[in-house]
């Protein structure tokens, strides 16, 4: 079954778009079937049900009950490989 990754940012139009694309490509390369769902940080609660992971480029101000990974690396490039490893490890876990 495909893994679901919520990709959230402030507006769900800009930074999460970049992160979602990068996550899809990285998962594909790792042989993980993944579905990304973009949303605003404020909407995460509505998407958490059935999701495996949140990758966010904005602050998550509550405990969503599933792992949260900082996705700024997809914008800045800093530590990107490590973040991708972390995402893949979490999804495979």
């Amino acid at each position: 079954m495909a893994k679901t990754v919520i990709v959230s940012c402030g507006t769900a139009i800009a930074t999460s778009t970049v992160a979602a694309k990068a996550i899809e490509e990285a998962c594909k390369a790792a042989g993980i079937d993944v579905v990304t769902k973009q949303c605003k940080a404020a909407e995460i609660k509505n998407f958490v049900d059935g999701a495996d992971l949140i990758v966010t480029t904005s602050q998550v101000r509550f405990d969503p009950g599933i792992p949260v990974i900082n996705g700024l690396a997809f914008l800045t490039g800093i530590g990107k490989d490590k973040v991708i490893e972390e995402i893949i490890a979490t999804l495979k876990g």
Binding site: G10, T11, I13, A14, T15, T17, V18, F74, L75
Partner: protein
Amino acid sequence: MEIKDFLDPGAIVLNMEAETSEEVIRELGGRLLDLGFVTDDFIDATLEREANMPTGLPLGGSVNAAIPHVDIEYVKKSALGLATLKQEVVFYNMVENEVAVPCRLVIMLALDQPKSQVEMLQSVAAVLQQPVVIDALIAAESVKEIYAALS
């Protein structure tokens, strides 16, 4: 589609002397407004969003960047604005909102459709990931040099 295809020369500000992020957002937003890319309330909406959900990005080198943006309802036609700042101006970290990020590069994103400008956004991210390009943008003394740095 690349950054330079969305960047109007009139929306580029070089060596801006600003003390606050609000000044930078007002200047770039005002340019986009004058050029007809955004609605009258774009600036206020962007300022409000920046206060609640900041856009500062530490880039790991000597120069950091901020990418202020707002919901699509305030945008008539997708465009970018770009400012290089004479001195560092504090924006706040996009994920760790309490952390100050002194920035010298500001790329304002005005997007009119959700998830439609993937290539443009990826090229913005690609620029942010290339210290050589960032340095060339900061060093640019003319709009022409900005476009040269981006191509």
